[in-house]
Amino acid sequence: MSGTLGKQSIHEYLAQFDDIPGTRVYTAARARKGYHLNQFAMSLMKPENRTRFKAGERAYLDGWPLTEEQKQAVLARDYNRMLDLGGNVYFLSKLFSTDGLSFAEAVSSMTDMTFEQYKAMMNAGGRSPEGVRSIEQGN
């Protein structure tokens, strides 16, 4: 077997992730913070839970050990805030499916564009990596 075998320090490995503009990497620290937020979102895969959630969002959220901040972010559908509070997009996608949004529409709400502008960008080849690779390098 050839190659570099897991010799990197976990501290160095994790530190790099904070240097990527506009991106929240789903690290263990985020996963721990967002455990119940993500498990709440996962619960919406069941139709009976979706019905209960839609009938009373606040009451449904109160049934989960979430922080008030997390509950407010869900009620406001503030996806960037949910990511900051430990949410992961694959889990949160159960929430936007419950709302009847497509992946692309929900994703566009995390950018500074309208859905129409976002779709136009994607159809023109997507967002260029130029200038958004690294905060430190500015490239």
Binding site: G3, Q8, P21, N80
Partner: protein, 279 residues
């Protein structure tokens, strides 16, 4: 003796499954993509593989945050289709190959890859979309499947090098299975895409094509790409491409490409597809 005769890589964008299920594959938006897979659909119909080892990731569909296996191998008789929140896709149940799957699982563990064995598992679009792209809409899938689910959601996912080495070990395991089987290995997911945060929508055609180039021939340079490069260059979800390296590693020292296709966009994602043979 069983043998890995080919490797296939493909994106697994859920919207492609929707297009198939709702009869929209000939719409203007989707037609170029489905045309791009036409060659492979005909090739698969001629090749008639017995088994596909299908490397994919679950998207918080069957696996939630309770248990996060890095490499999970499906050893059951069959795998039902996940309800991902809007009802299961109307596709046939996926038949497993428990004899081969258990053989691979045992061999990998002896070979120092400590696999998680899963006997009961539902499979999501990560597995079923590539099946639809390669086989269309049959009443029954024409192959048996050994699902191999990789964690690429919670960091750290396995390194590219580890994925490649797992592929090499899968090749050894398959070749020691006594029954004559024509086996393919598929790597799925990618290519560049980011579906979260203000940088969402990132696509890097140049990098994706560099990656496609690197799968062909005798170079093993791709196995050394660190996670941070996938994240910076291909978006946060581009990391799924490490799963393609399991496929590549299982094809041996050298490959040749039979078919290559690339298209932007499908929803938020760059579609990449390649068919390889050991050379």
């Amino acid at each position: 003796m069983a043998k890995i005769v080919a490797g296939v890589a493909s994106s697994h964008v859920p919207l492609l499954g929707v297009a198939v299920d709702q009869g929209k594959t000939q719409d203007d938006y989707f037609k170029p993509i489905f045309d791009g897979y036409e060659w492979t659909r005909e090739w698969e119909a001629r090749e008639k593989p017995d088994v596909v080892i299908l490397v994919y990731n679950d998207h918080a569909s069957f696996f939630d945050m309770k248990i996060i296996p890095t490499f999970a191998i499906g050893c059951g008789e069959r795998f039902n289709i996940c309800d991902e929140g809007w009802g299961p896709r109307p596709v046939p149940v996926v038949e497993g190959h428990p004899d081969l799957a258990w053989h691979i699982a045992q061999s990998l563990i002896l070979d120092e890859f400590d696999m998680t064995v899963v006997n009961e598992m539902d499979v999501d679009h990560g597995l079923t979309v590539p099946m639809s792209m390669m086989f269309g809409q049959p009443d029954k899938w024409p192959v048996k499947v050994v699902p191999l689910a990789v964690n690429v959601v919670t960091y750290p996912p396995p390194s590219g090098n580890r994925c490649w080495a797992l592929g090499e070990a899968i090749k050894r395991a398959v070749e020691s299975f006594p029954e004559d089987l024509n086996v393919q290995i598929w790597g799925t997911g990618g290519m560049s895409h980011q579906i979260q945060g203000p940088r969402a929508g990132l696509i890097n055609q140049e990098w994706d094509n560099m990656f496609l180039d690197g799968l062909v021939g005798d170079s093993d340079a791709l196995r050394h790409i660190p996670h941070i490069e996938y994240l910076r260059e291909t978006g946060s979800e581009g990391i799924e491409m490490v799963m393609w390296l399991i496929m590549r590693g299982a094809l041996g020292r050298q490959t040749k490409a039979l078919r290559r296709f690339y298209h932007v966009p499908c929803s938020n994602t760059a579609i990449g597809h390649i068919v390889l043979e050991p050379a």
